[in-house]
């Protein structure tokens, strides 16, 4: 049985997928029901197992209904149809070096794609490496690197756009 801390952890993962609190709760509830019906309740990796259920459930229920738009073709092809992008290692370094405050991130969160939000969750909350994320998402490493590159550019662009507003706030 999951305690409150683990339930909140799973809920935050659901939120990283749905970007909507009500949908996140529904997703978590449905996933827990499935887990309870499964034969994996005694598993030592229950959290990881439920996370997989959540991900599959989300893909099945929500994306098939197109409540959430599909990622762009550019996103799909960014890694070159599964081919590895020729970039140096230390692939998460761009994220490590990105500076953004909490308020700007909260503003930006709704503008991120599903895959970007999930990437941030797995990296920041679960502490996954690029290879672990690649395995978890069943996504080529090159695609992830391209996603990180675009994510960093998106954050920079968002901060640039919000700069005058931030300065006005400070003046006020």
């Amino acid at each position: 049985m999951f305690d409150h801390q683990h339930l909140n952890q799973l809920y935050q993962y659901c939120y990283s997928l749905t970007a909507n609190e009500a949908d996140a709760y529904d997703l978590l509830h449905t996933a827990l029901e499935k887990w309870l019906r499964s034969n994996h309740q005694g598993s030592t990796t229950a959290i990881a197992y439920v996370r997989t259920i959540i991900r599959n459930q989300f893909i099945d229920q929500y994306r098939k209904q197109q409540r959430f738009p599909e990622e762009s073709l550019e996103e799909q092809n960014a890694g070159g149809h599964g081919g590895e992008l020729q970039v140096p290692d230390l692939s998460l370094l761009p994220l490590e070096q990105t500076i953004i405050n909490e308020r700007d991130l909260a503003d930006l969160w709704q503008l991120l794609t599903l895959k970007e939000r999930e990437l941030l969750y797995l990296w920041a909350v679960e502490g996954y490496s690029i290879d672990e994320i690649s395995r978890e998402q069943d996504c080529p490493r090159g695609t992830l690197l391209a996603r990180i590159h675009r994510l960093r550019k998106k954050i920079a662009r968002h901060q640039q756009q919000n700069l005058p507003q931030t300065m006005r706030r400070q003046d006020g």
Partner: protein, 217 residues
């Protein structure tokens, strides 16, 4: 130990502000203990079709509940003994309890009260560190704007050592709007009201109406 990157910290804080409400946690605990599904049924399109007998039952249940509610709504004017005036303090307690239960997302997540004060730049008062609340306050989690009786207020959220959440509301005190509330600066004791299972305490301190809410034990 290496220092965490600013982005990682921001992501962690943003996501950690998303917490299940007390009711949601209780519902999920019940689900885990009994397997009971007391959640309202999902819309038709949200579930696969193989559960249809169970879903039909849910829809029948929902339809019955809707009919019952409609009946009550129609009969209410006939059954009601007439308008009764709820004391302002009780209205405030009910409003605050409802708000506390909802646990809406924090707009600023921080353990620093000064940062909270800086955030509330739109208020026409300065949030205080209450002498009454401080001794029993848990760890500050953050804050958000809210309103009490239509007046913009500050809501601060704390976590106690046992994980229970406390909410503290502050708003400029106006006796005409909020009624007579005990003034602790004059030696009066806070008024305690239980609303929706929430223990709500109200007092006036430093010319602010201060209301705390925590789940009853």
């Amino acid at each position: 130990m290496a220092e965490e990157s600013p982005l990682k910290l921001s992501v962690k804080r943003h996501l950690s502000s998303k917490q299940l409400s007390t009711e949601q946690l209780q519902a999920l605990n019940r689900l885990q203990q009994t397997g009971a599904d007391d959640r309202p049924p999902l819309p038709e399109s949200a579930e696969p079709s193989q559960d249809s007998p169970r879903r039909r039952f849910h829809w029948l249940l929902a339809a019955a509940a809707a009919c019952l509610l409609l009946g009550i709504a129609l009969l209410h004017p006939l059954l009601s003994p007439g308008p009764t005036k709820t004391p302002l303090s009780v209205q405030i307690a009910q409003e605050v309890a409802k708000n506390h239960i909802k646990m809406k997302p924090l707009e600023v997540s921080t353990t620093d009260l000064q940062r909270v004060r800086d955030y509330f730049s739109e208020l026409d008062f300065a949030p205080i560190s209450s002498d009454i609340f401080r001794p029993k306050a848990g760890q500050l989690q953050g804050a958000r704007y809210c309103s009490i009786q239509g007046v913009t207020a500050a809501q601060l959220r704390y976590t106690q050592s046992d994980g229970m959440l406390q909410s503290l509301y502050e708003v400029g005190y106006d006796p005409e709007l909020f009624g007579e509330i005990p003034r602790v600066d004059q030696g009066e004791e806070p008024l305690v009201i239980y609303a929706k299972g929430v223990k709500v305490s109200l007092w006036v301190e430093k010319d602010l109406l201060v209301v705390s809410a925590e789940n009853s034990k």
